[in-house]
């Protein structure tokens, strides 16, 4: 991450702390005089957060002005894989209530395995299908977790799947 972006993020931290600090004053409106209200502790924490950001800014300036090398070298990131990975996770969380946990999980496992580097189609398909069935048995039949069944026609598909697998 670039040094300018780092500084911008730290300044945003200071600004954000300030805005949140300002929003704490109405919290103490109903508190009797002489008592510490519900806004006291968050104010203390936000002051600490702002000061820590300022300290980090000073540290950042020292590193930039000095010849000290930046700490910790992380391996380079594949931007496309990050975007695809995040898209898969986002789609999974959005889709689960709409299409049901079973279908969403099978689709997610297949898609994420590809993003994570898997290339053998039979292996991907077997993991997605068998993995989902094992998860359904374990967490619905044994642990009784009420996973989302989906909306409209997807709910009927999920219920039919549960009946076919002997879960319901």
């Amino acid at each position: 991450m670039g040094s300018h972006a780092r500084v911008a993020a730290l300044l945003a931290g200071v600004l954000g702390s300030g805005l949140l600090f300002a929003s704490t004053w109405p919290l103490d409106a109903l508190v009797p005089r002489g008592r510490l209200g519900p806004g006291f502790w968050p104010r203390l924490v936000l002051i600490g957060l702002a000061l820590a950001c300022l300290l980090r800014l000073r540290e950042e300036r020292r590193v930039r002005s000095g010849d000290a090398a930046s700490a910790g070298v992380l391996p380079p990131v594949s931007g496309s894989r990050l975007a695809l990975g995040l898209a898969c996770i986002l789609a999974y969380v959005i889709a689960a209530p709409q299409v049901g946990f079973a279908l969403a999980t099978a689709a997610f496992v297949a898609a994420f395995m590809v993003v994570a580097g898997a290339r053998r189609v039979p292996g991907i398909a077997a993991t997605a299908l068998l993995g989902t069935v094992i998860l359904l048995y374990t967490f619905i039949k044994l642990v009784y977790l009420p996973f989302p069944k989906g909306a409209g026609p997807f709910e009927r598909v999920t219920l039919a799947l549960y009946r076919a697998l002997g879960i319901f």
Binding site: P38, P42, G48, L55, A71, L86, V109, A116, A118, L145
Partner: protein, 497 residues
Amino acid sequence: MIESVLGLGVGFQHALQPLHLGMIALGLVIGILAGALPGITMLNSIVLVLPFTYLMGIVPALLLMIGVYCGGVFGGSITGILFNIPGDPMNVPTTWEGYQLSRQGRTQYALGLAIMSSAVGGLVSALFLAFFAPPFARFALTLSSVEFFSVVVFGLAGVSVLNQSSLPAALISLFAGMFLGTIGTEAQYGVERFVFGVPFLTTGVDFVTVLIGLFAIGEVLEQIVTTPPGLTAPRGQERTVPQLPLRDLWPLRWPLARGTLVGIAVGGLAGAGATVSSFVSYGLEKQFSKTPELFGRGHAGALVASESSVNGSTGGAMIHLLTLGIPGSAATAVMMGAFLIHGIQPGPLLFTKQPEQVYTLFAGMILANVLMVAFGFLAAMCFATLMRVPAPILNTLIVVFCFIGAFALRNDMADVWLTMLFGVIGFFMRRYDLPIPPLVMGVILGPMAEQYFLTSMVAHGNDLTVFVTRPVSAVILGLAVLLVLAPSLRRLRRGAA
């Protein structure tokens, strides 16, 4: 003492039942395997078994988690010694020395030393917990919210030793975590804070969503964006049968004793835990060693010291959880969640209200560390095969298990959203050089600090001096100040010299 022996007797009666013994063994297997697989930390494995415990009775559930905890802190050493891949940050010092021994053709010796020193450290630590936790609990009953606040502050001060590379970065993480802990309905006045009209936030941010997201999802994202496509998990070299180095261990008794003591002491500090204790122990051993120049080149004493301190910290970390209801580490924080799910409130009253369950837990820890010798040897032998689990499958299933774990908290998709959000935050924190452990400690300890602080203020008429006029509180706060100032004082001394 007699009370502890009798209690342990009852505890062993429960823990030795086939089902309970099976749970410890299962936990050890899961813990060792998960700890050894890079990307799945001991903490991840505890989080991942949490949903499986919902339908169990409290005793099997806790024994399963104890097994995972004891096995998990050791597991990462196997891959560290064999492949130079520590399973957990706490196994890094072991890896430094163990892998060098392995390169010298002494793999069996290194594995044997790691297994035995882990078992000894864990066993001594569990015995310490069994015999000294009750007096500590009785002592804890004499303390008030003033002292509890000081203990929590000491835990928060422990952040200063978590990340020596940048204290401001650690403080940003810590205060961000503490801020997250203030979101939701405030306990004393029932006022909503930082909810911004989002109904879900009125109940606050569950720290388990933060833990799962930051550690597991963040790590998966890190792995998929840095691993070239088509690359699977590292493969083992050959099946390796470790030695049982009882004779080799005797000359290393002092590093073993020092490592174990450091583990118990540092593990007992809320906020420190196994990772800190392993590094502290490694550093301390270098001070004591007659051959410090051999450190980093396969020093058996350093390996024994760091490895025994890792497992030695387990008992220490449990003391805080069981006697004060304050988790001493992120792992014990998840275990605290398991206690609460099963209707048990850890704290001083636990020993008087549910002594049988407490002593069963102690007996379980002792048994787990004894059984770990056998399971450690088996795992070390089999691990070459298990290391062949392809990374894409592993990473994908971790995300699915995180989904399930988060959903199971309250059967609410909002928790899943939060978990995934914290996963993304965790990924960027790694990239921004912001340490994750202080944030986790902030989320967990922040609300406790607020509660104890405000209760103390109400009880003592807003008199802040109460924190320094009560002797125990003053001593703990003094130690916290020393902990924070120690690095600066050392730098000053070096500068003066």
